[in-house]
């Protein structure tokens, strides 16, 4: 394997302090992600998917113990200094959250929020940053981007807000994009548009993507590789086709069985 690894995770564990002792929410997770590939992480609610992403960003809750190693293009993330992490976040590694309403500041215009990323990480002036932000909004398929920059989040639809978040995450052309259920809150038609956009952008920018979802249809559509998480452990991982054709673990089998029974093309009861 000669491809450059955008992200290499080895034995990553996250333990939360709880009233009745410590609780391990991510346990000994390892995977490697070459540039330009999309890794899907599947699992039910509470399996630790989101905690894994937060640990990669150094955003685990206070008191959490994070162990193991996570290399972002060779740079160690686990235990890194806060100032180092702050320089990397939104810059070399960026995240898109599930709920596009709460992830944006309702008091600030879209333009201010986008430009800030470039002012902080690239040292651009506000006007330069706004110009660049406008081009990025255009790239994620937002019409009238100049007008959008002056609007507030509540003036945009859910799908448009999710595009704004995607644009914000992509402003610095990160090596790795983390996406936590980015389309779960959206209409199916908008979901498909956002996923198609993600595939286009991956092609154009060559970034690596970690996409967390419980929707096997989403994984089938965009993932190159899939890892299945259950109770904090990656129980199975492999190329998407192989995993769908011959699932080994019971967790994967039950996810796939439910997805196939509940498929728009399945024969239903009627």
């Amino acid at each position: 394997m000669s491809a450059v690894l955008a992200l290499q995770v080895d034995g990553l564990s996250v333990t939360h302090a709880a009233a009745d002792g410590a609780r391990t929410v991510v346990s000994d997770v390892s995977f490697s992600l070459p540039r330009g590939r999309i890794l899907g992480i599947a699992g039910e609610s509470g399996c630790g998917k989101t905690q894994l992403l937060l640990a990669l960003l150094g955003l685990s809750p206070p008191g959490a113990q994070v162990g193991g190693s996570a290399l972002l293009s060779g740079q160690q993330l686990v235990g890194a200094d806060r100032r180092v992490l702050r320089r990397l976040r939104g810059n070399r590694i960026a995240m898109v959250f599930q709920d596009p309403m709460t992830a944006l500041n309702p008091y600030l215009t879209i333009g201010t929020q986008l430009a800030e990323v470039l002012q902080v990480h690239r040292g651009l002036s506000k006007s330069q940053a706004l110009l660049h932000s406008q081009r990025m909004l255009e790239a994620v398929g937002i019409d009238a981007p100049a007008r959008r920059l002056r609007q507030h989040p509540h003036e945009l639809s859910g799908g448009m807000r999710q595009r704004v978040l995607l644009a914000m995450a992509l402003l610095c052309e990160p090596d790795v994009l983390l996406a936590d259920e980015p389309t779960t809150a959206l209409d199916v038609t908008v979901q498909a548009q956002i996923l198609d956009l993600l595939l286009d952008l991956r092609e154009r920018l060559g970034m690596a993507v970690v996409l967390v979802t419980h929707d096997m249809g989403v994984l089938a559509q965009v993932a190159d590789d899939v890892a299945v998480m259950h109770a904090g452990v990656l129980v199975e991982q492999g190329p998407v086709q192989q995993l769908f054709d011959a699932p080994q673990s019971t967790a994967t089998q039950s996810l796939l069985a439910a997805a196939r029974q509940l498929s728009p093309t399945a024969q239903g009861l009627v």
Binding site: E44, S45, T189, Q193, G217, S263, P264, V270
Partner: protein, 337 residues
């Protein structure tokens, strides 16, 4: 499974006035000219994107929303002319389960109290012991046991809370259960269990379902007929199998092309289909009238400036001038293989 006509809606319209203290905006049509029929024990799906009027339709059918035109008939009886007392008695026949299962249970009531409410209202002659027995029976029907009775709503997961909501609705012994996105907040395996439960209750209790969803997979699983709404108007309606296998309206085609099959081999075809149905920039038509879908339609033509009426094509009714033309034909294999 279906029986005689239970519920009929004729030409429903609902208008909202946009807010504004001094200059209220013009009324906006949330629902226009919607007619539907539901037989006893039948399951009808209403699908469409957010803002298409699905929930407004459900609320209008239950008379929770003021109609600006049209009639709702329950077993031939017009709900609009009933007094509020008569209407309350009829409400027993029309029960609803909600999208957010936890928000629909009072956090300060134990499950026992929650489940005995409908019995207190609709069967006041029951003794406390009889009510408890019925509540327990309802819980068991939805797969929970007696230990749940003394617990509080927050002690349950989303799937369990939705089961309790279904038990509460069924205790009224309704003829129609209106389900507004009942499984969209649930994880996939739990979603499947709740859908199976609804199918089973429909079979056993003979209750009809009006199932509001944007999840086409759930619709395919549960409902034999489907109605597609876009901006408050019916685009297409008919048997679910016909609609899903050969959708005639470009909007139905768009919805189906966006439903992602859980099969990596089908991904490329699914994406190609979406590209085929996409329009570059939304078109602006000369008049405000005409087909409401025209601005998003890949097959738009000058005639689309005229409002298309619902017409019968094969097994389905469709509101599109071009429905059935070869240019719009979508072979089932394009999306399902």
């Amino acid at each position: 499974m279906s029986g005689p006509l239970l519920l009929e809606a004729r030409d429903l319209a609902v208008h909202y006035r946009s807010p504004g203290l001094l200059r209220p905006g013009p009324p906006q049509a949330a629902l226009q000219g919607v007619s539907l029929q539901l037989d006893r024990g039948e399951a009808l799906a209403v699908v469409g994107e957010s803002g298409s009027g699905k929930s407004t339709l459900a609320r209008a059918l239950l008379r929770l929303e003021a109609l600006s035109a049209g009639q709702v008939l329950l077993r031939g009886e017009d709900l609009a002319i009933l007094s509020s007392q008569e209407l309350r008695a009829k409400r027993r026949d029309l029960q609803m389960i909600f999208q957010d299962p936890l928000a629909s249970l009072d956090p300060r009531m134990r499950i026992e109290q929650i489940l005995s409410q409908p019995l207190r209202v609709f069967e006041p002659q029951l003794t406390a012991a009889a009510r408890n027995a019925r509540a327990l029976q309802a819980l068991q029907q939805v797969g929970l046991d007696a230990s749940a009775l003394q617990r509080w709503p927050h002690q349950f997961s989303g799937g369990q809370a939705q089961r309790i909501g279904i038990a509460r609705a069924l205790l009224a012994q309704p003829a129609l259960l209106v389900c507004d996105e009942p499984v969209s907040a649930l994880d996939l395996p739990i979603r499947l269990q709740v859908l199976q439960l609804l199918a089973q209750q429909r079979e056993q209790a003979g209750v009809a379902l009006l199932f509001i969803a944007h999840d086409l997979a759930a619709v395919r699983f549960l409902c034999e007929r489907t109605l597609v709404l876009y901006r408050g108007k019916v685009m297409e309606q008919g048997p679910t199998a016909a609609l899903f296998n050969s959708p005639l309206h470009p909007y139905t085609q768009t919805l189906l092309a966006a439903a992602l099959p859980a099969d990596p081999r089908a991904a490329a075809a699914s994406r190609a289909r979406r590209r085929q149905l996409a329009v570059g920039a939304p078109l602006s038509l000369p008049s405000a009238s005409g087909c409401v879908f025209a601005a998003r339609c890949a097959f738009v033509q000058p005639q689309c400036a005229q409002t298309p009426l619902l017409r019968q094509v094969g097994d389905v009714q469709v509101a599109c001038h071009r429905a059935g033309e070869p240019a719009l034909q979508l072979r089932g294999s394009d999306i399902s293989s």
